[in-house]
């Protein structure tokens, strides 16, 4: 049986891994390679790293750090942050990433997804959508462009039709709050896509993961819980398992 995945989703900033709070302030997690080594030993199922220096300051994505992290990452590694050309994707994959996450470029130009999926395959292309509730409606949010008059589900469907392999759906309102995933947002997406949805933003305890999966999430992304709570990945999975959610149980290494 296919398992629901538990995925740390962290940010790369000034050569450190950090986690953000509602896309605004940052808390340091630690050194990239050390952190990846710990994740690997603790059997998390995948890892997503978004290079915010690259996306916000228009710096070149840091392939040196990506390569160092990939040396220790024997699980799928998704890299994102300002990726806006096919050449960029080549560089990131060459450094050892398995998938790439696209956000701003996809909003700007959807045919880029098409092009990328044709060359690298859909399995390689994760499209990231940040959603924010404005006047009782969900709208696509972009750190550089602000709130856009775009419906997140409509955008996700377009991405899917262009060849995206997965959707990383982040609730800006819930991100960093530890109050739980945004189930209302998730509910809008339930059974609407043929590709997996990775929900992100708000996991503070294992029960939040149970709620998200029951509301249609295929995989759970989180950061806070792995670093600033008492729960280990194994404990989170045990809790999910108690609620009949299929997870890959951790092994004793």
């Amino acid at each position: 049986m296919l398992k629901h995945r538990l995925i740390p989703c962290v940010l790369l900033k000034d050569w450190q891994l950090v986690k953000s709070i509602q896309f605004d302030s940052y808390r340091t997690i630690g050194h990239p390679t050390t952190t990846v080594r710990v994740y690997n030993a603790r059997n998390v199922d995948e890892l997503i790293v978004l290079d915010i220096d690259a996306s916000l300051k228009n710096e070149e994505i840091n392939t040196e750090i990506i390569s160092d992290m990939a040396d220790e990452c024997f699980m799928p590694l998704t890299i994102g942050g300002g990726i806006d050309s096919i050449d960029h994707i080549y560089q990131v994959l060459e450094a050892g990433a398995d998938k790439i996450s696209i956000n701003s470029k996809a909003i700007e130009n959807q045919t880029f997804i098409n092009e990328a999926a044709k060359i690298f395959g859909s399995q390689c292309i994760v499209c990231s959508i940040d959603a924010k509730k404005i006047d009782n409606q969900y709208r696509v949010y972009n750190k550089k462009l602000g709130v856009l008059d775009i419906d997140p589900l409509t955008l996700a469907r377009e991405y899917e039709s262009k060849g995206a392999g997965e959707i990383l759906l982040t609730s800006v309102d819930n991100e960093g709050t530890q109050k739980g995933y945004n189930l209302e947002l998730l509910h809008l997406f339930k059974d609407k896509l043929q590709i997996p949805i990775i929900i992100n933003g708000g996991m503070g305890k294992p029960g939040h993961g149970v709620d998200a999966i029951k509301n249609g999430a295929d995989a759970l992304a989180a950061a806070y819980i792995f670093h600033f709570s008492q729960y280990t990945p194994a404990q989170i999975k045990e809790e999910l398992y108690k609620f009949n959610i299929s997870v890959r149980m951790a092994f004793n290494n």
Binding site: M75, R248, F251
Partner: protein, 207 residues
């Protein structure tokens, strides 16, 4: 101690070679990424990884003049071979991805698409394998272990060479073995402890 065999990872421009190389390096194997005739001839073992479309994969092998060389090294010289993901599908007879395309044909079987009307496609994530005819690459690995998969087409074959099955809507072949030829649909290089165990078993196989 790990065997000092030279393992050649075939570079045919079909993705994720670096991950496979990093995993072999982690276990201390002597590994080289190449598509050069002399390096492949000189290698003790051959790995064909790959992510992407079947037709493009065969096309690239043809353009790099690797098909005859691989046939000779694997079928005649009996070098130990591991096909990973697309690399396993390519050793089958054919695939229906994009259009019907002939494969290397070392193991009879064909690649067909998962039913995207009833399933989320690609099949991506960790899923367990059930041994049907456990082969030596799975030494020290328990039945029902989870491995990382990511693929939209699956291998359908005569049961003769199946090593394990995995369920995703259908029971599909998740690993194969015929003499010196091994294949796995999942990614051992991305399957943590037990994935690296498979690569170690491969590196230690005696020719």
């Amino acid at each position: 101690m790990l065997s000092d065999n030279i393992i050649a990872i075939i570079d045919y421009k079909m993705g994720n070679l670096r991950s496979v190389e990093k995993a072999f390096k982690k276990i201390g194997a002597n590994v080289v990424i190449t598509n050069e005739y002399s390096v492949i001839k000189n290698a003790d073992k051959i790995v064909l990884p790959g992510v992407g479309a079947f037709k493009e994969g065969m096309e690239n092998l043809r353009q790099l003049a690797l098909i005859d060389l691989l046939n000779k090294e694997i079928l005649e010289n009996k070098k130990i071979f591991l096909g990973i993901c697309l690399g396993m599908q390519l050793i089958g007879s054919k695939s229906y991805e994009v259009e019907e395309t002939k494969g290397l044909g070392w193991i009879s079987g064909e690649s067909v698409k998962f039913n995207s009307k009833t399933l989320k496609v690609p099949h991506v994530g960790w899923n367990n394998i059930s041994y049907t005819n456990k082969n030596v690459l799975f030494d020290n690995i328990p039945d029902q272990t989870d491995f990382y998969f990511v693929h939209s087409y699956y291998f359908k074959s005569e049961a003769e060479y199946d090593s394990s099955l995995t369920n995703y809507g259908v029971d599909f072949v998740s690993s194969v073995n015929r003499k010196n030829i091994f294949g796995c649909q999942f990614h051992p290089e991305k399957s943590q402890k037990y994935g690296l165990e498979i690569l170690t078993n491969f590196a230690n196989l005696k020719s």
